[in-house]
């Protein structure tokens, strides 16, 4: 029989702070995910909204949502032409229970060869890991919604409102939307952005700098995220080993082994340090990898608008030469220019605030991480000192 944990959360247990800056500053629209249920790796989020805006039917309400609903919301926003000049908050990644699932498998296989204590410890480990993944995914979904609600344009988005309010199952709507857009925009962006962005001749100093910075930075931060993940995974393995050591010791009466049991406590500290590092640093890097991508997408859209504008110029020249459809070509050119200017203007604003946001987020998380590391290391020190004293005095 395979062991499958059921994890449930509630508001009091884990109020997570987001990797981004506090986004719930505006009381007119406050969103959070106070509750979530995890069943067989499918997560059901409870999205809770409190608002003073008249566009909503009620001042406070909650709806159940799945991960796919979030993706639908993200996609509709991406595909909305008006938002081309904005950095679209990155979609939350799919809940990934692969790690704990593997462990669960190992637990099931190894059950016969383990002692009861070892099995219990591994089960405990497994539950903790499930909970950690769970917490993370809730946090990341919450941040997504909060970024939308704190943005002057997105918060007014019709689909956003539907997402928050619609008390029926969204899956029907989702299907229709998919058929309509077909993911066209999204696919285009993904395949061509690097080439187009780097290929375009840039006249604006600001955007030239941004382009170079973002291209380089995105590669490095993606790499850093992967390596941070590897490092924190190793750290967790070390913590797990302490767990196994103390597990192997529990079933013995020998005196000196009781001293070793302090490893149990040490393990918890190590584990917490690894998770905190994970949450603060790795999550930060992971989040900004996605955010950088969103910024790059903005550059791409602007670059495409620029390309369109250049093309419209060429078309106008051709029309003038031929003496045909000049008015139409002029109109087209004017519109392209307008679009491009609009994108450049809002793009500049967005990218500037993005810079500031990034620096603030890094600062906040680095400080919190460092303070936690110090706290845990000091805790370790006092625990170890205590154990050593006890042992020496015996």
């Amino acid at each position: 029989k395979i062991y499958e944990p059921e994890v449930h959360s509630d508001r009091r247990k884990w109020r997570m702070r987001s990797v981004s800056v506090d986004l719930n500053n505006d009381a007119s629209l406050v969103i959070d995910i106070p509750d979530a249920l995890c069943e067989r790796d499918k997560v059901k989020f409870t999205v809770h909204t409190k608002t003073t805006l008249s566009s909503f039917q009620k001042p406070e309400f909650s709806v159940p949502r799945q991960h796919e609903d979030f993706i639908w919301l993200h996609d509709t926003i991406v595909e909305t032409e008006e938002y081309a000049g904005f950095i679209i908050p990155p979609a939350p990644p799919k809940p990934d229970f692969e790690g704990p699932r593997e462990k669960m498998h190992k637990l099931g296989e190894g059950e016969s060869s383990m002692t009861k204590e070892e099995y219990a410890k591994m089960k405990q480990e497994l539950e903790a890991e499930y909970l950690a993944v769970f917490k993370k995914t809730v946090q990341v979904h919450e941040v997504f919604l909060q970024r939308l609600s704190s943005h002057p344009m997105f918060r007014k988005d019709r689909n956003f409102q539907i997402f928050l309010e619609y008390d029926q199952d969204l899956s029907v709507r989702r299907k229709n939307a998919k058929e309509m857009f077909g993911g066209f925009f999204k696919n285009m962006v993904k395949s061509a952005d690097e080439v187009l962005i780097s290929g375009v001749k840039e006249v604006d100093e600001f955007f030239e700098q941004e382009k170079n910075f973002l291209l380089d930075y995105s590669i490095k931060i993606k790499d850093a995220t992967a390596k941070a993940e590897k490092m924190t995974r190793s750290h967790k393995n070390v913590a797990d080993d302490y767990n196994h050591i103390s597990g192997a010791l529990n079933n013995t009466a020998a005196d000196n082994n009781t001293a070793f049991k302090n490893m149990c406590v040490l393990q918890k500290v190590e584990d917490r340090m690894a998770s905190d590092q994970e949450l603060k640093l790795t999550e930060l890097l992971r989040y900004y990898t996605r955010d950088i991508q969103a910024a790059k997408d903005l550059l791409y859209r602007r670059a495409r608008a620029l390309a369109d504008y250049e093309n419209s110029n060429k078309a106008l020249d051709k029309a003038r030469l031929k003496g045909k459809d000049v008015a139409q070509a002029e109109e087209n050119q004017k519109q392209c220019l307008q679009k491009f200017d609009k994108l450049s203007e809002s793009g500049k604003k967005e990218l500037t605030s993005f810079k500031a946001r990034r620096v603030v987020a890094f600062r906040k998380n680095l400080i919190e991480m460092t303070e936690l590391e110090i706290k845990h290391a000091k805790n370790s020190v006092s625990l170890l000192q205590g154990s050593i004293e006890i042992l020496k005095s015996n």
């Binding site: 850093a224 590897k230 490092m231 080993d241 600062r363 460092t370």
Partner: protein, 527 residues
């Protein structure tokens, strides 16, 4: 009569079941017939100045010491040994070791004795030789502490030769105040096969008595080949260090054993400049040895005759030992995994540190850029800390556990030894029985000429049976003593190592605090 210099060592070991009546100085022909031979010598005084004149009187004319003891109270071992020196003079050292089996632990007095032996009568109560160097309390304290009169270090591994015939030579340094050695500090060079040879020699002598012989470090073809071939990488350096430390621990365990310390082979190993090459060490190393031990225990388990134990002690103790061995194996596997994961963490941290540095260099905000490069440095320091911690994980914990898994195997051997002795006794008893039956038959058949032969046979086997009975009692006593000593030492060893390990963790955590505290202002400076 001067004994030639090539004489080996003789030790006389007796457990008296009946009191010996004191006599005056023994005649030349007087031999402790029960215990084996002795060697007599006139000793010229030693020139190293360690012994007082009184002692020298010990040896003129008297070759042996006799002591009275009461049954069950005191077991006395006397050793008479001859030291080989390049000069003609011989030095004889006598140590009197006392063990009181009825008290809690062992008390040992190591030191030359004089007046006690000048008279041939020694009181029943505790032997108190006058030139004993310490009082019993002092010695007990010393024994319970780490202080030992003998310190051994194995250092300076050096590769001798080239190619497949190359070998590592290690410097074995001894520092001691024990008078049985020529000098206070001295060193020799030994190679791995010498250590195995030592094991073979002492095992041959002492394991039959039921002593726990510390097993030598394991041979490793892979490890050694890399070294021979001359691979100058970190793994072969690690291998050499691992072996050096293992050899050191091995020797330390050997000399921590009171009987083994007295063994002249051990002394020769520590002192003699050139040792003859030990051959046939193949069978003794690593897997070979383990196989031998396991085969022995299998054989014992299959023994159909169950021992008739007067008390449960041996049976339950053996079970305890087997359980403990299993436990330690599991623990060792877990610690091994810890070592590997920590090494992985090391590598991953180093990699991460580099990428953070690169990220910092790309970052456009200058304060954040600086903070990121500081973070990279912190991670770099952490990598070093992890490296050191992995080292501690291995050398303090993993090796301790591995050593004790093998030591427990040696303990099992010693139980098996006792079983063998018992079996021999059983067989002798049944042979005696048969001889008696044969005699009875002859009596009945009235064949007087064969009767004498039968009577002789019976006498022979009677004395064998009584000797084997004594052997068995002696082995039983030794095994019991050895196990208690082993347990005490193990508890002490573990405690010591655990404290050391926790201290290493403490050190790491201290450094971590410092690293992060140094970084915090940098993080706060981001604007």
């Amino acid at each position: 009569m001067v004994i030639s210099c090539n004489l080996g060592i003789v030790f006389i070991y007796f457990l008296q079941s009946k009191p010996i009546t004191p006599t005056s100085a023994p005649d030349e022909g007087d031999i402790f017939s029960e215990e084996g031979s002795y060697i007599r010598s006139d000793v010229h005084h030693a020139t190293n100045g360690l012994h007082s004149d009184e002692e020298l009187d010990l040896f003129t004319g008297i070759s042996l010491h006799r002591c009275t003891m009461t049954r069950n109270d005191i077991m006395v071992k006397c050793y008479l040994s001859h030291q080989h020196t390049s000069v003609q003079s011989l030095e004889a050292t006598v140590e009197l070791t006392l063990t009181n089996t009825t008290s809690q632990g062992r008390r040992e007095i190591i030191g030359p004795t004089a007046s006690a032996c000048n008279t041939t009568h020694v009181p029943n109560s505790i032997l108190k030789p006058s030139i004993v160097t310490k009082t019993m309390e002092e010695l007990e304290e010393e024994e319970s502490g780490d202080q030992f009169e003998l310190n051994i270090a194995v250092t300076n591994p050096e590769k001798i030769g080239d190619g497949m015939n190359a070998y590592m030579s290690y410097k074995v340094s001894t520092q001691t105040t024990l008078p049985m050695f020529l000098n206070k500090t001295f060193s020799v060079r030994r190679r791995f096969s010498d250590f195995l040879g030592l094991y073979e020699k002492i095992s041959a002598k002492h394991s039959l008595l039921g002593c726990i012989i510390p097993p030598p470090p394991q041979k490793s073809v892979v490890g050694m080949t890399k070294v021979k071939v001359g691979k100058e990488d970190s793994s072969s350096a690690e291998f050499v260090e691992k072996r050096r430390a293992a050899l050191e621990r091995y020797l330390q365990r050997v000399v921590a054993h009171p009987s083994l310390l007295q063994d002249p082979d051990v002394r020769e190993f520590l002192e003699r400049d050139e040792l003859p090459r030990a051959v046939n060490t193949q069978a003794l190393s690593g897997p070979g040895l383990l196989k031998m031990i396991n085969r022995a225990s299998d054989a014992v388990n299959k023994m159909t005759i169950k021992m008739n134990e007067s008390d449960n002690w041996f049976e339950s103790k053996l079970q305890e030992v087997e359980n403990e061995e299993q436990l330690l194996r599991r623990l060792h596997a877990a610690v091994d995994s810890l070592v590997n994961h920590r090494k992985e963490l090391c590598i991953n941290t180093a990699v991460f540190s580099k990428i953070v540095a690169m990220l910092g260099s790309v970052e456009e905000n200058s304060a954040l850029s600086r903070a990121l490069s500081q973070l990279a440095e912190v991670e770099d320091k952490m990598e070093q800390l992890h490296q050191q911690q992995a080292f501690s994980d291995f050398f303090i914990l993993a090796e301790l556990l591995a050593d004790y898994v093998r030591l427990l195997g040696a303990v099992r051997c010693c139980f098996e030894q006792r079983m063998k002795v018992w079996q021999r006794l059983q067989e002798a008893q049944s042979t005696l029985q048969k001889k008696r039956e044969a005699e009875a038959k002859l009596l009945w058949a009235n064949k007087p000429e064969k009767l004498q032969q039968a009577k002789d046979d019976i006498n022979e086997w009677e004395s064998k049976v009584s000797q084997y009975e004594r052997d068995f009692e002696r082995v039983t006593c030794t095994v019991r003593k050895e196990v208690l000593r082993f347990e005490k030492e193990k508890a002490r060893d573990f405690k010591q190592h655990i404290v050391k390990y926790l201290e290493s963790l403490l050190h790491t955590q201290h450094r971590l605090v410092k690293c992060w505290e140094a970084f915090l202002p940098e993080a706060k400076a981001i604007a």
